[in-house]
């Protein structure tokens, strides 16, 4: 893979929250029986654990995102995606599974700002009760018209993924929603 570029080319919007291109990220989809001991062992090989239902496991420069009862999305530095997929495949030899580098499939966006503004921005766009959304939780849902998933990295940072082909739509949608003058103030 040469000259990989993000769909958003480093775009940034500064409003009530800052919406930014999250940069290139290695993404490996891991599918199989998440409860199997072999799966836990494989996750350990790449320095992670298998997240519980709707949870995110974060460790240094990597994360494991619960996607469905048989799917976890592994996030690693972009250059390590191939090696991570290979390590998982090797660790799961003989076990029914799938570990594939899907780094080109999705775009990452990074939202930063006050927790109230972050919650409000997402609440305006997704049919999710943002009063109840907690740290360490991932929500796959709808943002406007397209699928996305988001989680809070800390109280002032949200990471959001969407399919690469709709990255610009998601960026523009978030930018309009987080524009100055659009505050509702529900979250304080």
């Amino acid at each position: 893979m040469r000259d990989a570029v993000t769909a958003l080319h480093g775009a940034t919007f500064i409003g009530r929250v800052t919406v930014a291109d999250g940069g290139l990220r290695g993404m490996v989809t891991l599918r199989g029986d998440l409860a199997a001991p072999a799966m836990a062992a494989a996750a350990q090989v790449i320095g992670l654990t298998i997240p519980a239902q709707r949870r995110v496991v974060m460790a240094d420069d990597r994360a494991a995102i619960w996607m469905s009862p048989d799917e976890v999305l592994i996030l690693v530095p972009h250059a390590q995606a191939e090696a991570t997929a290979a390590a998982l495949t090797q660790a799961l030899t003989g076990i029914h599974h799938l570990a594939v580098n899907v780094s080109d499939a999705r775009a990452v966006l990074r939202l930063t700002g006050s927790e109230a503004a972050l919650r409000e921005t997402l609440a305006k766009l997704a049919p999710v009760d943002m009063d109840l959304f907690g740290m360490g939780e991932v929500r796959r849902t709808r943002l406007g018209q397209v699928a996305c998933a988001f989680w809070m990295v800390d109280s002032s940072t949200v990471e959001l993924i969407c399919f690469r082909s709709v990255a610009r739509y998601v960026f523009d949608l978030l930018a309009v929603t987080a524009s100055d003058g659009g505050a509702v103030g529900h979250f304080g």
Partner: protein, 106 residues
């Protein structure tokens, strides 16, 4: 608006996060079946005013198919359950029975 709980993610999501997949628990009649059976399987669908068992997909979420039991007139949702069954589980049937008898008593 319907609020459905996906049995796979445990998410209580609103209707637009899901996609309706029509009547549940259809028995497939394929090659070798009679024309009448195939015709009924292919084209005939219930359209009740009342309790209905349906297939839904958590299309913007985990992507899984599941079942829902709801009332098409009141939009009351009696419950959702996994896709890997050919009929509604007893707890859902009990809830429907309780709801219909409570309704009849009024």
């Amino acid at each position: 608006m319907l609020i459905l709980t996906c049995p796979y993610c445990g998410v209580a999501g609103e209707e637009t996060e899901f996609h309706a997949g029509g009547e549940a628990h259809l028995k497939r009649f394929g090659p070798g079946s009679s024309d009448d059976d195939f015709d009924a399987y292919m084209f005939a669908r219930k359209n009740p005013k009342g309790v209905h068992f349906e297939r839904w997909r958590h299309v913007f979420g985990c992507g899984k198919w599941f079942h829902a039991a709801r009332d098409t007139a009141t939009l009351q949702v009696f419950g959702t359950y996994p896709a890997q069954v050919s009929g509604p589980p007893q707890d859902i049937l009990d809830r429907i029975a309780a709801a219909t008898s409570a309704h009849a008593a009024k």
